[in-house]
C-alpha cells in the first residue's frame, strides 16, 4: 500500500526510506510523472513526437515522386516498400511548364529587391536614430516602434488604390514596395538597437580621420552590423519568399510568384497533388536550405521579429 513500491523509479533514494513511518505516503501524480520523465520514457516520447512532426513533410516529399494514378489510389507510405513507384516525371513536367518556371523567377524578382531595400533603407534610418541628434528623434522612433505590430491587412485596400493611381498595381515593383514598407519597422528597430552598441570611440576615430557620414556608414557601421543585418536579411527573405497574401493582391495574376501560381492551380483543379506536391516542395527548397545553413541567424531573426 505504500507509495515507494508503486513508483518505478525513485530519483532521490535519500528521502524514500526516511519518510516511511509517518507523513503522507502518496506522492502527487505530477511528481510521479516527473520522475518517470527523467528516464528513458523521455527519449521514447521525443522520438515519437519527432517522427510525428516529420511525417506530413515526408508525405509531401514522397508523393511528389509518385505517379498521379498511384497518388489517387493509395497512400504515399505504399511507395516506401515499392521502389517501382518512384519517378521524376512530376518534376519533369512541372519544370517543363513555362508558367511554373516563370513563377520561380517572379518570386526571385520580388524577394531579392525587397530584401535588399529593407536592409539598406532600414540601416540608413537605424544609423540616424542611433547616432545622430536631430529634433523629434525620440518621438519619430516611438512611432516606428508603434508600427511594428500594425497588421498588413490595414493597408491592403488603401495601397491597392494608391498603386492603381501610380500605375504599379499588379506589378512586381508594387509587391516589392509593399514588402519593404512593412519590413521597415522591424528592420529599424532591430538595427538601431544593434548599432547603438557600437563603441563610440570607433565612430569618433573615423570622423577624426575625416570620414564623411556616408563613408562612415558604409565602412564602419555596416561591417560592424554584420550579424544583425544577416539575421534581418534572412528573416525578411523568408517572409517575402513565403508570402502569399500580398502577392495575391498586388502581383500580376498573369505572372505570379510561386505561392500564388500554386494557389491558382489548386483553385482551378482541386487536389491534383502530382502538381501541387512537387510544386510545394520546390517552394520549400530555398527556405529549407537557408534554414539549415544559417540556423543561428534564422533563429535570432525569428526571435526578434515574430512580432510582425
Amino acid at each position: 500500500m505504500t507509495a515507494p513500491t508503486m513508483t518505478a523509479h525513485v530519483p532521490d533514494p535519500a528521502d524514500a526510506p526516511a519518510s516511511a513511518p509517518a507523513g503522507p505516503q502518496r506522492r502527487p501524480w505530477g511528481e510521479r510523472l516527473a520522475s518517470l520523465a527523467s528516464g528513458s520514457v523521455v527519449r521514447v516520447i521525443l522520438v515519437v513526437v519527432g517522427v510525428l512532426w516529420l511525417l506530413p513533410t515526408a508525405g509531401l516529399l514522397v508523393s511528389s515522386f509518385r505517379d498521379p494514378r498511384d497518388i489517387a489510389s493509395t497512400g504515399w507510405w505504399e511507395a516506401l516498400t515499392d521502389p517501382g513507384q518512384w519517378s521524376f516525371s512530376n518534376y519533369d513536367s512541372l519544370l517543363g511548364n513555362e508558367k511554373f518556371t516563370g513563377s520561380v523567377w517572379t518570386t526571385v524578382a520580388i524577394t531579392l529587391p525587397a530584401t535588399a531595400l529593407v536592409v539598406v533603407v532600414g540601416a540608413l534610418a537605424a544609423y540616424a536614430f542611433a547616432w545622430m541628434d536631430f529634433p523629434g528623434r525620440d518621438w519619430v522612433f516611438l512611432v516606428v516602434v508603434g508600427l511594428l505590430v500594425v497588421p498588413i491587412q490595414v493597408a491592403l485596400i488603401p495601397v491597392a488604390r494608391l498603386f492603381n493611381t501610380l500605375g504599379i498595381f499588379e506589378t512586381t515593383a508594387g509587391v516589392v514596395l509593399f514588402h519593404s514598407a512593412f519590413g521597415l519597422p522591424f528592420a529599424i528597430f532591430l538595427l538601431r538597437n544593434f548599432f547603438a552598441e557600437i563603441p563610440r570611440e570607433l565612430l569618433e576615430a573615423a570622423r577624426l580621420d575625416g570620414a564623411g557620414e556616408l563613408r562612415l556608414f558604409f565602412r564602419v557601421v555596416l561591417p560592424l552590423g554584420g550579424p544583425a543585418i544577416a539575421a534581418l536579411a534572412i528573416f525578411q527573405f523568408m517572409w517575402v519568399w513565403n508570402d502569399m497574401l500580398v502577392a495575391l493582391i498586388f502581383a500580376d495574376a498573369g505572372s505570379p510568384p510561386m505561392t500564388v501560381a500554386l494557389q491558382q492551380e489548386m483553385r482551378q483543379f482541386g487536389s491534383n497533388f502530382d502538381v501541387l506536391a512537387p510544386g510545394a516542395f520546390l517552394t520549400m527548397l530555398i527556405p529549407l536550405a537557408i534554414f539549415f545553413a544559417f540556423q543561428r541567424q534564422f533563429v535570432s531573426g525569428v526571435m526578434a521579429g515574430a512580432v510582425k
Binding site: 519527432g50 508525405g59 508603434g146
Partner: protein, 432 residues
C-alpha cells in the same frame, strides 16, 4: 540606451537624407493607409455616402462575418495555448537529452516553409479516404484495433425474399425455424471483388436434432440462378453472426462457417433467426477533417505544427537562463522534479511564456493563408476567419470595401494594447 550620447549634432539635411527613404515608404504605405482605412470604414460600399458605424455593426450582425469572428476567437484562445504548452513541454523534455538538437531542428523546421506549402501538406494529411490521407489512415488503424470491423457491409436481403430489414439494421428471417428443416438465408448486393476468397455455398445438413441453415450470396453471374436456391456457382458468406430469437430473447447464437452453413442446438427450434446488424455496418472511414464540423480544429492543428517549434526555441532560451543554483537548492531542500517545475521553473519562465503567447496571439489574429489553402470551398464558410473575410469582402466580385476597411480597423484596434505595451517598454529602457 543610445539617447543622450549621440556623437553628432547632425546637420538637418544629413539626418533627413538618411531618414527620408524609410519615412517616405512608411508614411505612404503604412501610416497613410491607417488613416485612409479608418475613414473608409465609415462609408458604404461605393465610398460615397457616410454610414457612421454601420459597417462595424455589420461585423457583429452578418451571419457569415459572425462565423469568422467566432472562429477567430477559437483560434486566438486555442492556437497560442496549445502551441505554448507544447513548446514548454518540448523545451523542458529536451533540456537533458543529448541529441535534443536533432529533435529541435525537426520541430522548428516547419517555421521555415510557407503557409501555402504547409497548407498543401495538410490537405494531403487530411484527405478523407483512409487509403490516401495519413490522418484517417492512423484514425482507422486505431479504431479497427479496438473495434472489430464488420465482414459484409454491402450485403442486403433480396427484395421480396424471406429476410426483412429490422429497424436496428439486423436482418430477420420472419418464418420461425424448426429443427431438421434447413433454413435458407439468401443475401445479395455484395460486390464481386469482396467475394474473391469465398467458397461455394453448401446446402445445410438438415439433421433432425438441430437447427441448420446457410447464408449465401444468392446470385449467379449471368442471372441463370434461381432465387432462394443454392445454385452450383453461388458463394458462401462466412463469419456472419446468426442469433436465434424467441420473444425478443436470444436463445442461441453462432457464426457461419467458410461454406456458409451454421448449426444451432435444438433449443432454437421454433425461434426466429436474426443476422445481427454488426455484420453489415459500413466500415469506419475516419473523420471528415475538412468537413464543416471539425475544419477549424483541423486547421489549428496544422498551425500548431508550424509554430510549436517557435514557442519551444524561445522557451528553451529562457530555460537556459534560469539559474542552476536555484533549481539545485530546491532539489536539495527535497523538492521533487514536478515541484521544481511548477514552483520554480514556470514562474521564472513567466515573462518568456507571456511574450510567446502574445506574439502567437498577434500572429493568429491575422491568420489567412492556412485557412484559405486548407479549407475546401465547400467548407470555407465554416472555417472563415476575419483576415479571410476581409480579403473576400475587399477584392473580387461583389466587394464591399467599407466592410473590408471596418474589419481592418477592428484588427488594428485589437493590437493597440500590444502596441502600447511595446512603447511603454521602450520608454522605460530609454529612461535608464
Amino acid at each position: 540606451m543610445a539617447s543622450g550620447k549621440a556623437v553628432i549634432r547632425a546637420r538637418p539635411w544629413v539626418a533627413a537624407s538618411f531618414l527620408l527613404p524609410a519615412l517616405l515608404l512608411l508614411g505612404a504605405l503604412v501610416v497613410y493607409p491607417i488613416g485612409y482605412s479608418i475613414q473608409r470604414s465609415l462609408f458604404d460600399a461605393s465610398g460615397d455616402s457616410f454610414v457612421g458605424l454601420d459597417n462595424f455593426k455589420e461585423i457583429f450582425t452578418n451571419d457569415g462575418i459572425r462565423t469568422a469572428l467566432k472562429n477567430n476567437l477559437i483560434w486566438i484562445v486555442v492556437a497560442p495555448t496549445v502551441a505554448t504548452a507544447l513548446g514548454l513541454i518540448f523545451a523542458v523534455l529536451t533540456e537533458r537529452v543529448r541529441w535534443a538538437t536533432v529533435f529541435k531542428l525537426v520541430v522548428f523546421m516547419p517555421m521555415a516553409i510557407s503557409m501555402l506549402a504547409a497548407g498543401i501538406i495538410f490537405r494531403m494529411v487530411y484527405e478523407q479516404n483512409p487509403d490516401r490521407g495519413l490522418a484517417n489512415a492512423l484514425a482507422t488503424t486505431v479504431h479497427d484495433t479496438f473495434a472489430e470491423s464488420s465482414g459484409w457491409p454491402d450485403a442486403e436481403p433480396r427484395p421480396g425474399g424471406p429476410l426483412t430489414v429490422e429497424e436496428d439494421g439486423s436482418y430477420l428471417l420472419t418464418e420461425p425455424v424448426t429443427a431438421g428443416t434447413p433454413a435458407l438465408l439468401p443475401l445479395v448486393a455484395v460486390p464481386q471483388p469482396q467475394l474473391s476468397d469465398a467458397e461455394p455455398a453448401v446446402a445445410p445438413s438438415g439433421d433432425p436434432g438441430e437447427v441448420s441453415g446457410t447464408v449465401w450470396m444468392d446470385f449467379t453471374r449471368g442471372g441463370a440462378g434461381a432465387e432462394n436456391t443454392i445454385d452450383p456457382e453461388e458463394l458462401a458468406l462466412s463469419g456472419i453472426k446468426v442469433e436465434a430469437v424467441v420473444d425478443g430473447r436470444v436463445v442461441a447464437d453462432t457464426k457461419t462457417g467458410d461454406d456458409g452453413t451454421f448449426t444451432l442446438p435444438a433449443e432454437a427450434d421454433g425461434a426466429q433467426l436474426r443476422l445481427t446488424s454488426d455484420n453489415f455496418t459500413s466500415p469506419y472511414n475516419g473523420i471528415e477533417w475538412l468537413g464543416p464540423n471539425v475544419v477549424t480544429p483541423a486547421i489549428i492543428a496544422s498551425y500548431v505544427w508550424m509554430w510549436a517549434g517557435f514557442a519551444m526555441v524561445l522557451i528553451a532560451a529562457g530555460l537556459a537562463s534560469v539559474p542552476r543554483e536555484t533549481l539545485e537548492a530546491a532539489r536539495v531542500d527535497g523538492a521533487g522534479e514536478w515541484q521544481v517545475f511548477r514552483r520554480i521553473t514556470v514562474p521564472l519562465l513567466a515573462p518568456v511564456l507571456g511574450v510567446v503567447f502574445v506574439t502567437l496571439m498577434i500572429n493568429v489574429l491575422k491568420i489567412f493563408d492556412l485557412v484559405y489553402v486548407i479549407a475546401p470551398s465547400s467548407s470555407q464558410a465554416d472555417a472563415n476567419v476575419l483576415a479571410l473575410q476581409l480579403y473576400l469582402s475587399s477584392f473580387g466580385t461583389g466587394a464591399d470595401q467599407g466592410v473590408g476597411s471596418a474589419i481592418a480597423v477592428f484588427l488594428l484596434l485589437l493590437v493597440v494594447p500590444v502596441m502600447i505595451v511595446n512603447l511603454r517598454r521602450l520608454r522605460r529602457e530609454n529612461q535608464r
